[in-house]
Each structure stands twice: as structure tokens, then as C-alpha cells.
């Protein structure tokens, strides 16, 4: 039988997330303690409590997204005057000074990507909860992109770290990180975790039950 059209879960096999070894799922065994016989990683039929955990992280990230955009991300002290900038006012500043590429990079990485990530994950969760059978392949692909792109949101935090290190006392200006930097970093880390606890296999489980 070369054309298997069976899932591991249907065959009562748990796929090791690390080493790809399939191990037997036993009902008698408490699921929490199942461990891969080869590499020792925790194994499950599906990631535990994936939907609730992903929702919790999405909500937490969405809450942090607000102060990340309201509070200043930098304080620039120049000639005794302190100027504070939010993520958005920074982007506007770069547009006004003709630095389009930078404006575009920061706008995409700091504003668009986190927001899209939250929307895409919410959409995927809702479609799973409604047992949708709409384009599962595309939805899986959408998740793959979302997961890969998330890390790039950190770019402005790194740029800030470097600017802060270079512009210190003695120069025409000093730069300090503002509270939004912490909230923003939290958004990036939490959305990265959300993508980790989300189980894309759930998208296909709905299809399975429909085919029966």
C-alpha cells in the first residue's frame, strides 16, 4: 500500500515533534507523560490544549499592542530639549525626511506584521472551531508564512539598541528607549509563542470528520 491516506492520529500513532519517530498512543497511559522512545521529547497526538493556549496568547499580544503603539518608543534629548517618538510618529518622521525605505521597513515590521499575525492566527482558530473545510491547503500555507515572518518584527528593537549605544553623552543628542519598546518586544515574543502552540494539524482534522 503505497497510497496511504491515513493520518498518524487515526492509526493511533504520535508523531515526535523533534525526531519524526512515530510511537503508539496508548489509552491507558496518561497523555501528559508520553515521551518519545528515541529522543525523549514529549509526544502528543495533537499539541495539548492548542486552541485555548493560542487564543490566550493572541489576546495577551493584542492587549500589549495598544501601549506599544500609544507610548513613546524613544526619547531623544538634544540641546536640552526632550522629544518623544512613538512607532507611528517615527514612521511619519522618516516619510517627511524622504527616508522611504526605512519608513517602509519599520511600518511593515513593527505595525503591519504583528497585526496581520494576530488576524491570521485568529482567522485560523475561528475556521478550526467552525469546522471549516475551506481550502485547508491554503490555510496551512498561510500559517507557514505567518510563522516564518514573525521574527522580522524585532528589527526596530535591534536598531534601537544600536542607536542607543552610539548616541551617548557628548554627541549632539542622546537617545533613550521608551516604555513602548518593552510592550512591543512583548508583542513580538508572545506572537512567536502563539505560533508555536498553534497546531496546524487541527485544520485537517475537521476535513477528516467530514469524510467519514
Amino acid at each position: 500500500m503505497n497510497n496511504l491516506s491515513l493520518t498518524a492520529a487515526k492509526a493511533a500513532l504520535m508523531n515526535c515533534p523533534r525526531c519524526d519517530l512515530l510511537s503508539k498512543y496508548k489509552h491507558s497511559q496518561p497523555i501528559k507523560h508520553a515521551v518519545c522512545p528515541r529522543c525523549g521529547a514529549a509526544v502528543h497526538l495533537r499539541k495539548p490544549n492548542s486552541i485555548n493556549r493560542t487564543w490566550a496568547l493572541i489576546i495577551a499580544a493584542a492587549i500589549f499592542y495598544i501601549p506599544a503603539n500609544i507610548f513613546p518608543i524613544t526619547f531623544v534629548t538634544s540641546l536640552g530639549k526632550v522629544q518623544s517618538d512613538t512607532i507611528i510618529s517615527g514612521v511619519i518622521y522618516f516619510i517627511n525626511t524622504g527616508m522611504w525605505p526605512i519608513a517602509l521597513v519599520i511600518f511593515t515590521a513593527s505595525i503591519v506584521v504583528p497585526l496581520l499575525k494576530l488576524l491570521v492566527l485568529s482567522f485560523l482558530l475561528v475556521s478550526i472551531q467552525r469546522k471549516s473545510s475551506w481550502r485547508p491547503g491554503d490555510r496551512t500555507h498561510l500559517f507557514r508564512i505567518t510563522e516564518a515572518v514573525g521574527r522580522w518584527s524585532m528589527v526596530d528593537i535591534y536598531a534601537l539598541t544600536i542607536v542607543v549605544a552610539l548616541l551617548k553623552l557628548g554627541f549632539f543628542a542622546t537617545v533613550e528607549a521608551g516604555p513602548a519598546a518593552v510592550y512591543f518586544a512583548a508583542v513580538v515574543v508572545i506572537t512567536m509563542l502563539a505560533a508555536k502552540v498553534f497546531d496546524p494539524r487541527l485544520t485537517w482534522d475537521a476535513m477528516e470528520s467530514e469524510n467519514e
Binding site: V105, H141, L166, K168
Partner: protein
């Protein structure tokens, strides 16, 4: 007797496949969702080991030399990754400093050193101590290695500062650029199945 090919399940849709050998340098994809199931890589272990060692050397140069300097009216301020972290810490941004330190210094260093720790004994046909746990930890830490994002951060900061002062790139910057390709190569050239298969177990 025909040797049965081992079963493999897709991580993204759970569909079972027979793990047929694929031609060199090619990829086996899930026939339902298109996820990568596994890829075949030539000399996987040797190349990865060489890359990890090269990466470690580059990493040391990168972190001991400034990658950017700012010049204005005779003043010069240089920076390494660590000075940025220190400055954030001094400003009271402890969590942020820690996050930058982990993702741009600690995680890459552990990943490179850990690769050498696992691959060098395997190359000499020995089993490194605590191999499964170490390799699993390396897979986790690799996801939190954001060096390529840091590189883009450097470019962004260079452009940001270029209007107000002279930005001078240091040796570490070029080093950094090479290191990113080496690190990407370390992950891309390794077929993790080779490592796990050394442990012996196979399904059924």
C-alpha cells in the same frame, strides 16, 4: 524479504507517508499540504561541522570588535552588540536588554558551540554525553536565534544615523555578514534524521 520503508507523518497535517529515499539534494514534500517532510543532503555531517566551527570563530571576532562607529566633530563612539545591551540595561530596560542579549548573543553562541559538541564526537563515531537532550535543546534555541534580523537592524540604524553624523562600519560588520550566511548554512546543511538515526530506534 522486502524491507518495509519506515512511516513518517507530516507535521502540519498528520498524513502518513512511506519514507522513500529521495535523490540527493532534493526534498520530499507532503502530498496533501505541501509541507517539507525531509530532505536529503550530501555529507550533511561534515559540512555542518565545518560550518559550525567557522561560525564559532566568526562569532568571537564579531563580538570582540566594534561593528559600527559614529564620528562627529572629533568625537568617536564605537559599539559592539554587548555595549548596546549594557546601555539598555543602564537605562532600566532590563527585560529588553535580556531579550536582545539572548537572541543576538547567547542563543547563537550556544547553538554553534552545541553543534560542535554533538557533531564532533559523532564524526569520530562516539556518542556525546546527553546527546538527545542536547540536540533537542539546540533545536529549541535555534528558533530564538535572530541574527539575520539583527543584521537588518544594523542597516536600519545606519540609515537612521547617516543624516546626522558619519557612520563608520567596523570589521565586525563584515564578519557579521559572513556569519549570518554561515549560520543559515549550518541549519540548511544538516539533515537531523542522520543525527536521530544514530540513536538506533526506528518505528516498529
Amino acid at each position: 524479504m522486502v524491507k518495509t520503508m519506515p512511516l513518517i507523518a507530516c507535521h502540519e497535517c498528520d498524513l502518513l507517508h512511506r519514507a522513500r529515499p529521495v535523490p540527493e539534494e532534493s526534498i520530499a514534500k507532503c502530498r496533501r499540504c505541501g509541507a517539507v517532510l525531509y530532505r536529503h543532503k550530501r555529507n550533511s555531517l561534515d559540512i555542518t561541522l565545518a560550518m559550525a566551527i567557522a561560525g564559532l570563530i566568526l562569532f568571537i571576532i564579531c563580538n570582540t570588535h566594534p561593528f559600527l562607529a559614529l564620528k562627529q566633530e572629533g568625537l568617536i563612539q564605537e559599539t559592539t552588540i554587548i555595549t548596546g545591551v549594557k546601555e539598555l540595561y543602564n537605562q532600566g530596560m532590563h527585560a529588553l536588554a535580556l531579550l536582545v542579549l539572548i537572541t543576538s548573543v547567547v542563543a547563537p553562541l550556544i547553538h554553534l558551540a552545541g553543534m560542535v559538541y554533538v557533531l564532533l564526537p559523532l564524526k569520530l563515531n562516539r556518542m556525546p554525553w546527553k546527546m538527545p537532550a542536547t540536540f533537542r535543546f539546540l533545536q529549541t534555541i535555534q528558533q530564538w536565534t535572530l541574527m539575520e534580523v539583527f543584521m537588518l537592524g544594523i542597516l536600519v540604524s545606519m540609515v537612521k544615523l547617516s543624516k546626522t553624523a558619519t557612520v563608520v562600519p567596523g570589521i565586525a560588520l563584515y564578519c557579521f555578514l559572513v556569519l549570518i550566511f554561515v549560520m543559515a548554512g549550518t541549519t540548511a546543511s544538516l539533515d537531523p534524521r542522520i543525527i536521530w538515526e544514530k540513536l538506533g530506534h526506528t518505528h516498529e
